[in-house]
């Protein structure tokens, strides 16, 4: 009985520690965001007040949607660019990651590595060649140009991440599907992707956000029509300093799709996706 009680106590203690840790993590994650949210409702004069009691205002939101900031259009641009990028890159990356994970081929290591190595060069160095290219193609300030560069950026990461996830799952179920008559493509769609679904979701979100936040290319390659949010936000960094209350309001706006994404993600992170498939 004694050992049992002791174990129970230890478990309760651990539960307590765990809860405390989680609360701390929650606080650390949420506090800056909440603070930003609070700020979004502050008048500039209240910005530097540490109190949570102030007269809230919706002016900041009104301002950012109005001329000259027009954050609404910017928001749409970001959505289109990030959405298109993910739609193209995730399928392509999944196929490639699958091939890298499951097949042997000559120079596999080198090829796989080259794909990521392209991302090692800081973007500042390649942005000018891109600028010239798109200028010649007449694609400056278009969604297409941004989608293309973002594809180049996210695809290598996506391939790497997905391969990591694929490497961690057993292959018997795939073999079963092949014997059941599925083509490789069907196997990937019907069996592999669902099995690594959390990984696919994480990767897609990663690509989405990477694109969503991509700054330098958007800065150089767009001016008006295709300006995305990060560039839009820097517009609040004026000669007069940072219009922090507007930045915060825009920041809150940016986070809204993420709340949506997080609920999508949440559903796919139950333990044991692949449980029971094989001995």
């Amino acid at each position: 009985m004694d050992r049992n009680a002791q174990a129970r106590r230890r478990r309760m203690l651990w539960r307590g520690v765990e809860s405390a840790l989680l609360l701390l993590v929650l606080f650390l994650i949420l506090f800056p965001i909440l603070w930003m949210a609070l700020t979004a409702f502050k008048r500039p004069v209240d910005l530097f007040d540490l109190t949570v009691f102030f007269t809230p205002t919706l002016d900041n939101f009104r301002t950012i949607f109005a001329h000259p900031w027009n954050i609404g259009q910017t928001f749409l641009n970001s959505l289109v660019v990030a959405g298109l990028t993910v739609l193209v890159s995730i399928p392509a990356s999944t196929l490639a990651a699958y091939a890298f994970s499951r097949f042997e081929m000559p120079f596999k290591g080198a090829l796989f590595f080259t794909i990521l190595a392209t991302q090692f060069i800081p973007a500042v160095v390649v942005v000018l060649p891109f600028y010239l290219l798109f200028r010649d193609l007449g694609l400056l300030d278009t969604h297409l140009a941004l989608v293309v560069v973002n594809l180049a950026i996210v695809t290598p990461f996506a391939v790497w991440m997905l391969k990591g996830f694929l490497d961690a799952v057993p292959t018997e179920s795939e073999e079963a599907a092949m014997v059941d008559g599925a083509t490789r493509l069907r196997v990937i769609i019907d069996i592999v992707v669902p099995m690594v679904w959390p990984g696919v979701v994480v990767t897609a979100v990663f690509c989405f956000i990477l694109t969503w936040n991509e700054f330098l290319f958007a800065l150089i390659l767009t001016r008006d029509d295709a300006v995305t949010l990060p560039v839009g936000i820097t517009r609040f960094r004026t000669e007069r300093g940072d219009l922090w209350e507007l930045i915060a309001a825009a920041g809150i706006l940016i986070s809204i799709p993420m709340f949506f994404l997080s609920s999508v993600i949440q559903r796919h992170f139950v333990r044991g996706m692949t449980g029971g498939a094989v001995k």
Partner: protein, 356 residues
């Protein structure tokens, strides 16, 4: 419906040879059982037929066509994996229905076929569970149902009943036999259960270390094992083997063994084999030789009596009511028509005729 053939197939992993230069012709509609010790290459052989593993050398033929380069889906086979290989994210119903879905069978028809297959393996109630919510035996039955739900030209089944209880195993065995007979589907079946092999197989291939040691009907395999390995491997409890000497048509061994054989041509070390059920235990002095009782084991429908005759340890199967003190002396009677004689050097069988 097609015949399946392996021609000089070898499978190597690095330096390790899992299947060695193996040839095997399975006739159209035949039920072929692969039997052999753990690790002898049964699963590997099956996986090569399925197209999941590439032979290091040699050819695989299905329906007379070389299929080495055909992907699994074009070989029209159904397979039960030893390790199940279920689709973890699909319900039991969807698991079973997946091959149908791939063939474009839809709606009510698919549902009906799924239900029928699930019913055959007694899974009807569990169609909406996920694999992780199933017991081991239930998972195995899902794998089985998924294989039998369609009508392939070849069935490959790798120990499909190993996790089932005796009762379910008997009924499922009957189901498989019936199905195979009805559809005439060429079937390759791995099992380690003698009864399963005996009752199901048209022919049995006994493998050891990547090689086929004997390929014949179950009766012949049981009654006329071709060499010492097959003799010792088939039968449970296994055949008693006594090492001795053979010459002039007589086998002798210490402990009173002296049997005339109908083998004239062999002189030298030899091994005599006799199955436990061919050894009768009688009161002392009433048999071919005397022995002392070493152990008595009850197996339900029989009693296994282990005795020492000289240096040889023999097992006899006695009636389930049979009882005796350990250490007491009894007589053994060996059924002379059912003795097996092997050359100790080559391990090959010496007496050619069927025991019966």
């Amino acid at each position: 419906m097609a015949d399946v053939a392996l021609l000089n197939v070898t499978k190597r992993w690095g330096g390790f040879v899992a299947v060695r230069d193996q040839s095997l012709a399975i006739r159209d509609g035949e039920f072929m059982v692969l039997l052999g010790p753990s690790g002898c290459g049964k699963t590997t052989t099956m996986r090569m037929i399925a197209g999941l593993e590439e032979p290091t050398s040699g050819d695989i033929l299905i329906g007379g066509q070389r299929v080495n380069d055909l992907p699994p889906r074009d070989r029209d086979i159904a397979m039960v994996f030893q390790s199940y290989g279920l689709y973890p994210h699909m319900t039991v119903g969807d698991n079973i229905g997946y091959p149908l879905k791939l063939r474009g069978i839809k709606g009510a028809e698919r549902d009906a076929q799924i239900k029928a297959a699930a019913a055959k393996v007694e899974l009807g109630d569990l169609l909406h569970r996920k694999p992780r919510e199933l017991s081991g035996g239930q998972r195995q039955r899902v794998a089985l149902a998924r294989a039998i739900v369609r009508r392939p030209t070849v069935f490959l089944m790798d120990e499909p009943l190993s996790n089932l209880d005796a009762k379910l195993r008997v009924s499922t065995r009957a189901e498989i036999k019936h199905l195979q007979h009805e559809l005439g589907v060429t079937t390759v079946y791995v099992t380690h259960d003698q009864i399963e092999a005996m009752t199901l197989a048209h022919r049995v291939a006994v493998m050891n270390q990547g090689e086929i040691r004997q390929l014949d009907t179950p009766e012949v395999i049981y009654d006329r094992p071709a060499d010492l390995f097959v003799a010792g491997f088939i039968g449970s409890p296994p055949m008693n083997l006594v090492t001795g000497h053979h010459g002039d048509g007589v086998f002798t061994a210490p402990g009173g063994f002296r049997f005339t054989t109908r083998v004239g041509h062999h002189a030298g070390p030899a091994v005599l084999g006799v199955r436990p059920e061919d050894v009768t235990v009688a009161p002392a002095g009433g048999g071919d030789l005397d022995a002392s009782i070493y152990a008595v084991e009850l197996t339900g429908d029989a009693v296994l009596v282990t005795v020492m005759a000289g240096e040889a340890r023999l097992i006899a199967k006695a009636d389930r009511a049979w009882r005796a003190e350990i250490g007491s002396t009894v007589a053994l009677r060996l059924d002379a028509t059912r003795l097996h004689l092997f050359d100790a050097a080559t391990t090959r069988r010496l007496n050619p005729e069927a025991p019966r």
